[in-house]
Subunit: 296 residues, 6 copies
């Protein structure tokens, strides 16, 4: 199965109008894939067809499908699905950047996670994907100074997906929150584009003082499972943070920090530099030989 | 906005009757703040007004509001909200200490967490706060030897908030469970007053033998994100456990343990002592320079 | 209270027919215990009786009780409880091995976790137990090539229990997922029999390449809270992985790996060997003196 | 099975204190019967036990049981069960006359309707009984000038039970609404004590003018299925209105009106008088020979 | 569209085995029609596809589809859909006569009601059809002496569909309850085969004495909207009762009774006899000229 | 309180553009009244404020409020509120005539029913009003040839409100269905403008033949409770049908038909003519002296 639309659209990442048009085409292409996948699955699995029709096949756009799915996932007895559906639909419809980010996130999961077997698999089932889409709406409400409703949404995301992203946090596009359970991203954190973050990762603060106190994650960064990054530190573009690491100081671009406390692979003076973009290549463990020190 | 009631009540922390009266006043003051906040938010955000009226503004007391909110959050198709509401309301109404602890926890979040913008924000949205309030009811049922219902409540808290506090665990007041997802507190654990515990923290046991086998956390302790403390060990008053640390031995009062396995900052012979109460000051990272060993 | 049926049945673990007959008797015995426990609890706690009748006492078999409980726990507004109930009941009824594994898991919790006070306590309240039972059904659907419905189930388990087991992962019997929140088990992982896994444990992959890329856990292994094991590595039979450890290389049978990065206790040349089966003995901390290096 | 408590209580219908005490004893006796019936049914029918425990056996009083049952029956996604439960419980707890009327209505169904096999049968299943109990609460709210909530309750009763009693209508005690579907009782209607009203009965108004415009039904009246009584007319004590009759003029005490338009049996000059209390004797058809004019 | 299976099956209404086989084929044929209709509708109306898959297209038999649909229609917060689904499925699966009656009722609606556009239309939407199917299960439970659960079901049917059929009432097959709202059928009533009953019809009793006190309706009878038949009277085979009639005496076969009180068309001495089967021909009004006495 | 907007708008009922503009102003005026009423009620009754905010005060238009309220009232576990909300909102937004009819119906209830104390009372609580609004959407879907979804909606309206209006029936504006329970309106019925219909009224068909077979009700007609009108008969403009009447022949304009079978008041040759519009004046009983033939 092809993973991308015809070449003309991917090449169009240039200027204003052309870019927007390309993104609209891109969204249409991904949405067509999703419907085709769902149609195929509904045919092969009648027990799931009702679910696939209500979440995907009955909708006229990706935005409507997502608004419906999130509204039903995040609702509670005191925050009704109709209210949330309306909120999601209105916010997403009004902002093409939100829709473009959704498409980029779908691609991120589909390309980077070998367990992701289709776009619809991600759309329906990835709690990390869903949490980020809902966060983007909460963030938009936050910057419109609608804080109480942004925080109510934040709370529902944290309850339902066990993913806790403060609505003020700024998150780029092309994000993969793999597995996602337990991710915590604080109020003043910034996450760049094409970043991959595994479950149980913390981008946390430093204490009870307000102000700018959370990590800044550069483009293309990969953060391994259970890593804890605290304070207003910079994780440079293309850097990699190993699973279970505790990072309290800046990590330079294209280096790898591992351990608790984290050390740079290769040493702090001349750390090893890698060439690829780990947030996209998802290489979790190639630093094994340098770091794990026992051989059996 | 003022964060505390007039001085007369906070000064009243002395003896029996005076103390109770002061606490009643304190509860009334906090409840008045919460209603004022909710009223303001309902006015500025009509989409949220229904939620704010049902959870806060329609109730005549903090206890009723909390019982309603927890009943609706923790109910399931086999444990109805009406049953849980009744259980919470009856238990909390009968015990002023539960209500006083609730107020202390609200203050803890409001003072210590810069992301907490109001008391109502905590009451409605903080899963750690809500998990602890529900735990206190479960604990009360447990010590009344109503174990099956205490465990059913325990299970609902663990499902809904991903916070797993055994109903037998004894927890003080003025507790902040920040972010809270993944916190595990075992059966024989004891947590003192004014403790702050970040997400993913484990106060775990040591094996399959019963008996007293979980940590004892002193007053004013701060435990960083992802720290794992195992066994019947003592974390002394005012001590600090760094994020991601694994602690298997006692930590002396006012010292800081970091790392996996944890080491005392300053060394085990003459560990550094700090003066403040980290559970309240929430200083997560001032030990950076002593611990993280690379500089870029 | 006795924890096992009369000797004749436990002795019957021999060959084909005899073994199956013994397992059927075993299931009947455990189910009888569960009903007796529930009846006793319903009598002592009328507020819980409705819950106990609907989940246990109204059912004619353990399989029906479990299908009902899981159907009601995992349902959502778009995946109805009746659909899930049917799916669970039909799958479990058709496969005696699933029922036998359920019984073994109930025993595992009851024997190994001192906080587990009865079989019914585990059946109703242990999210790890429930997540594994639901996973086994998802796994069966997966190997029948019903992938979309297996993944939908996977998603519900991850949302409701915060336990993320890929439906392709192969999991043995007699498994204890203690506390369970945050456990992640990847697509090509294999978990043997009589394994105990604490919360926040990751059996993760190594990157975006597909293929066999997740850990293989031998029989009788114990994995401590928050341990992260990455890549297609082997954790040998009866090995132990300490809490918070990060393991990227094979761990030999009956050894203990601790730390981040993990080291073998006793050194990689001549690691200490233990005789017991830690997955069953649940000894989390007896390696303290060798590992934690400060004494206060 | 005995249908009444020991003689001392029924004889006590005399004065002030004695009467109240007798009614309290009466309520206790009926509640004890209901619990005994429910216990017996729960034992013989495990599939229903959960329902019986949640609605009856888990409650400490008839008022709590009824408030729970009505709260769950009448709730909707915008009027939560917890809110309604609270409203019912507080109103009924505060007014012993409501509780005494409930007991009288239970007796009315049990004595007069041969299809009513137990008090619990009526409490759980009779929509007419439940509609009246909810109406009494709505009426109380109405006379406290809490009209909007009284009307919201009115609307829920009309939706759920298809019984439409305006909250301003005054209804006595010992009322049987048999089958009940379609009953309509207007704003200024008054219904005496010990009245039996079959389904589809209308006590309607006369037009768009306000004021006193609905029927007044005397004590002991029996109104047959589908009868329509319009306007501020008086149905005298002990009168009987035949099924399907349309009544627009007063009916004298102890007479029978039948037909469309209704005529008095025996003629308007010297109508037949009966001695019994038809609202209690429930004789629907003894006037057949005088009225139906064909014999086959 | 054809309304019946190939001739061989309808001709098979003869003896034992042949008859049963024919009925099984008949059920299969109707079920195939229903699936084809639902598939066509799902294709033309995506917004309804989810509903059609969950209620019809995901099921392997008519019995499962009906059990699912009734379980979800009749459930409440205290009587869960899973419990009802199980009850319906087990009862219907065990008794081929119930399934055969369902098929006959589907045919009755499809043939007699010009507003019924398909079998699936009836299966999904006809409250009279659904009420009767649920009644048959309640009746079966009643004659197995499982009265409390039969009455609980009775109550749910009366609440949800506003159709009140006592579980003891015996009802034939090929029944059409058209519109159905407000139908009341008492405890000792008997309804023959191929009967059509309009809405608001009462088959009521005569008072507070128990015993055989409700109407007996012969085969092929048609009872018009709002007719009230009271007492143990016989409505002879093929008779017709006009809309709004009140009947208190036997009506002979193939005659028509109209009015309040009812009179036989043609007079009681020599009533007109009709040849057709009005329960099937559904001729409501051909007696107009003889009865209505004004011409405009 | 004023019942109408300033004179300019009511005078505008003239031609094309002016009329539409007037109706838009009219809708705005009524919506402003509704919000003011709801705001006043929310202030005086905090227990109801959540309900009032979710149904009225959080919405930006009458159409949104109504779509939300109907979506939540009519949803079921297989037809989700979000789906219905979308369907209602899209249909009503696209057709100003639907919105204008809604306003006319609100006025009809407010003016003609003395028990209707406010517009919001009708909007929230009148099942007849709500049933008609939902019917108009079903009717629009029907004439767009979306029959299956129109019939599904029809079924939900019949279940929830016990009001059964076939989606093909054509219904005018300014309709009051007072009390509404049990109303049945058949497929080819036509109801004019400014008609008032009481509960239990049937506009029914004549048999199993299709085609035009239901009543045609002229403008300004009043039909009393329980009246049954059968067949393709004409009820002339401004006519009145008495409660409980059975009508099988045309009724001339401005006459009154009463009884079973119905007779014209004044006789068929020279029936009495009234001058007012009974559908608006709601005079149910002024014909008493001429019809009821006994005086007491």
């Amino acid at each position: 199965m092809s993973l991308s639309p015809p070449a003309t659209t991917t090449a169009a990442d240039d200027l204003g109008g052309g870019k927007i048009e390309a993104e609209v085409q891109d969204e249409a292409w991904v949405w067509a894939q999703i419907k085709a996948e769902a149609r195929r699955d509904a045919e092969s699995e009648p027990a799931l067809a009702s679910y696939l029709y209500s979440t995907i096949l009955s909708h006229s756009s990706l935005a409507r499908s997502l608004a419906f799915h999130l509204g039903n996932k995040l609702c509670s007895s005191t925050l009704l699905s109709t209210l949330l559906y309306d909120l999601f639909l209105n916010t997403v419809s009004a902002d093409p950047r939100l829709r473009s980010a959704t498409v980029a996130d779908l691609r991120a999961a589909r390309y980077r996670d070998p367990a992701c077997i289709s776009f619809s698999h991600c759309l329906l089932n990835y709690k990390g994907f869903l949490a980020i889409q809902a966060h983007r709406v909460a963030h938009k409400l936050w910057i419109q100074n609608r804080k109480p409703i942004a925080l109510a949404l934040h709370s529902r995301i944290a309850d339902v997906f066990a993913v806790d992203i403060h609505p003020a946090a700024r998150v780029g596009k092309g994000i993969l929150l793999d597995h996602a359970t337990g991710v915590v991203i604080g109020e003043t954190a910034v996450v760049g584009n094409n970043v991959s973050i595994l479950h149980h990762v913390t981008l946390g603060g430093t204490g009870k003082m307000g102000g700018d106190r959370h990590p800044k994650i550069g483009d293309g960064v990969l953060i391994g499972a259970g890593a804890t990054i605290l304070g207003n530190v910079k994780i440079g573009e293309g850097a990699k943070v190993g699973a279970g690491s505790v990072v309290l100081i800046d990590v330079p671009p294209r280096t790898t920090a591992v351990g608790n406390p984290a050390r740079l692979v290769g040493g702090k003076e001349q750390p090893n530099l890698h060439e690829d973009v780990p947030g996209e290549s998802m290489d979790h463990t190639s630093f094994i030989s340098q770091w794990s020190d026992y051989i059996i």
